[in-house]
């Protein structure tokens, strides 16, 4: 049947789930997806607090440019939209 606007949600096959932590809280993600996507799925949008005024910030440009989605892993600052999730990933936020 000709579908004007198909819904392909159920036709997508993904890898198995792995667990990671964000500020100590445990979450699940499909292995290899970006941290940004995993957190979006978990409805965790508030990733960071702006240094100037403490305002909540999150993913914005989704392509590694705006630096809004940065998090810390092993002391290194990295954009969550460019960070693939692997089992046991421990992420700290730059929230106040």
């Amino acid at each position: 049947m000709f579908q004007l606007a198909p819904n392909h949600q159920d036709d997508i096959v993904r890898t198995s789930k792995v667990s990671f932590t964000f500020d100590g809280k445990s979450f699940l993600a499909y292995e290899g997806e970006t941290l940004a996507a995993a957190l979006m799925r978990a409805k965790l949008l508030h990733l960071r607090d702006a240094p100037a005024d403490g305002a909540p910030r999150g993913v914005f440009c989704c392509m590694g440019l705006c630096q809004e989605c940065v998090v810390q892993v092993d002391g290194k600052t990295i954009e969550s939209c460019r960070l693939p999730v692997s089992q046991g990933l421990h992420v700290s936020s730059l929230r106040r």
Binding site: I12, E33, A37, M40, G58, L65
Partner: protein
């Protein structure tokens, strides 16, 4: 001179891939560098490793095709690396890039820069709230991670992306609360002749719009979101009708949502060109500041060629052909005898470009757009600087992008001014009552992306420190 490679191509989108593939046909060594792990750029962005299989889309098909071509060719693809500086020297070009935390360099005899575009978003109250994403940004998530964003999305902006984002959000299982587009039906009717050049896309677009109507998703033509509201993330938007020059007017209306996708068009990611020594010029039809260019991707810098959306927003089809032309210019520069028909390619390019330009026209900013940025709206997101603060700085005499940056730090944060420069330039132009084309972007400075001290410093032995003559006492 001996260089690491004959030709380096920066950017693995439609333009870069085509430039690299064609150059490789001429037996030159070609290295193609790109930030993403797989080739494809933004428009043909590859799926993440988390996706084992998914229904095809025209973009995924085109992307797979080019990825296969690259892997079967002699092109050396350096994926997942971040170019941070382009040096012109005796080599004559050296590209510095980060690869897994290590800084590397690549010298080449000639360079093709295909760094593409990024989007520009007019700052509005609340645009910094979590849940607000760019439209091109949303498509990145859709293509790479295949998830909808938020449960209920409002899409607001210009050009065809508005409909693409809404359609993809739905296809991936999300809900679209409304489509709010600055363009009117009349704008689109004017673009119809050019769209007939690409009937497949036209049909696809019509399908999306029809689907929206069938699913009763409101499309507000000639409207724009004026404010995003929420506590720690988006909870609703305010939107208004806009006049012909895009000034918001009339009564505000509201839509509840948890995600807003905004976009005011695409602009060239021109920093690489600046570092390479290419002059910029302003062209509103092609996205604003673009590199000065001659035919077939040639520039004022010998041995440096440009192609794709970075050279002006003309769309992916034009980018493919432009890439081929730039690739041919590069091999010709190195002395090869060309056996492709440049005339034919130029014709293809011109056709494809006129379609792309018609799409870009839909996003050319109109005077009312800057009115969306109120005095209290944060313009420089990184540093949290509002329009009022920038205007105060200008009233104190700061009359150029450089002095506004120095005075208020606007543009000095981690994003390097990528998301505030367009708006700041508009404000300066308004204050000085001169066209935007007279307000040059600030000096480009490396690194092109934030890079850690460790990566840049590498292995360091204290004894390597040059014991120079002490400075005069």
């Amino acid at each position: 001179m001996i260089t690491d490679t004959d030709i380096a191509v920066i950017g693995a989108g439609p333009a870069g891939c085509n430039a690299a593939l064609l150059a490789a046909e001429y037996d030159f060594s070609v290295v193609m560098l790109d930030e993403q792990v797989s080739p494809g750029g933004q428009v043909w962005r590859a799926k993440s490793p988390a996706i084992l299989s998914a229904p095809e889309t025209p973009e995924s098909v085109a992307g797979e095709s080019v990825r296969n071509a690259i892997s079967q060719s002699n092109v050396t693809h350096l994926g997942g690396v971040r170019v941070w500086h382009i040096e012109r020297s005796e080599d004559p070009f050296v590209i510095h890039y980060e690869n897994a935390g290590v800084s590397c360099s690549l010298s080449c005899r000639c360079l093709v820069i295909a760094t593409g575009a990024r989007e520009t978003i007019q700052p509005i109250p609340g645009w910094t709230l979590p849940g607000v994403v760019g439209m091109a940004g949303a498509t990145s998530i859709f293509k790479q991670d295949l998830i909808p964003i938020g449960s209920k999305m409002v899409v607001s902006g210009t050009g065809p992306l508005v409909f693409f984002v809404a359609a993809e959000q739905q296809r991936l299982g999300g809900e679209v609360a409304a489509i709010v587009t600055s363009n009117t039906l009349l704008d689109w009717i004017k673009a119809l002749p050019a769209m007939l050049l690409r009937p497949g896309l036209l049909f696809r677009g019509l399908r999306w719009i029809t689907a929206m109507y069938v699913n009763r998703i409101p499309i507000y033509w000639g409207h724009t979101v004026t404010r995003v509201e929420g506590e720690s993330s988006v909870s609703r938007v305010e939107f208004k009708k806009i006049s012909k020059d895009w000034t918001p007017q009339g009564q505000p209306r509201f839509i509840e949502c948890d995600c807003v996708s905004l976009g005011s068009g695409l602009i060239s990611a021109f920093e690489s060109f600046q570092l390479a020594g290419i002059s910029l010029e302003h062209n509103s039809d092609l996205g604003g500041w673009i590199p000065k260019q001659e035919q077939d991707g040639r520039t004022n810098v010998g041995g440096c060629f440009i192609c794709g959306d970075g050279a002006g927003i003309r769309g992916s089809l034009a980018a493919e052909t432009h890439g081929k032309l730039a690739g041919l210019s590069a091999v010709a520069f190195l002395g090869a005898k060309i056996n492709h028909s440049i005339v034919k390619l130029r014709r293809e390019y011109a056709r494809a470009a006129s379609f792309g330009e018609a799409m870009s026209k839909l996003s050319i900013p109109r005077p009312g757009l800057t009115k969306l940025t109120t005095a209290k709206t944060v313009v420089c997101r990184c540093e949290g600087i509002t329009r009022a603060e920038i205007e105060d700085e200008m009233n104190l005499g700061a009359q150029s992008t450089i002095s506004v940056k120095s005075g208020v730090r606007a543009g000095m944060g981690p994003c390097g001014g990528k998301f505030c420069q367009t708006a700041i330039t508009d404000l300066i132009a308004k204050t000085k009552s001169c066209p935007v084309s007279q307000i040059a972007p600030p000096t480009a400075r490396p690194p092109l992306r934030p890079i850690s001290v460790n990566t840049l410093a590498g292995d360091f032995d204290y004894s390597d420190l040059p014991i120079s003559k002490p400075s005069p006492l």
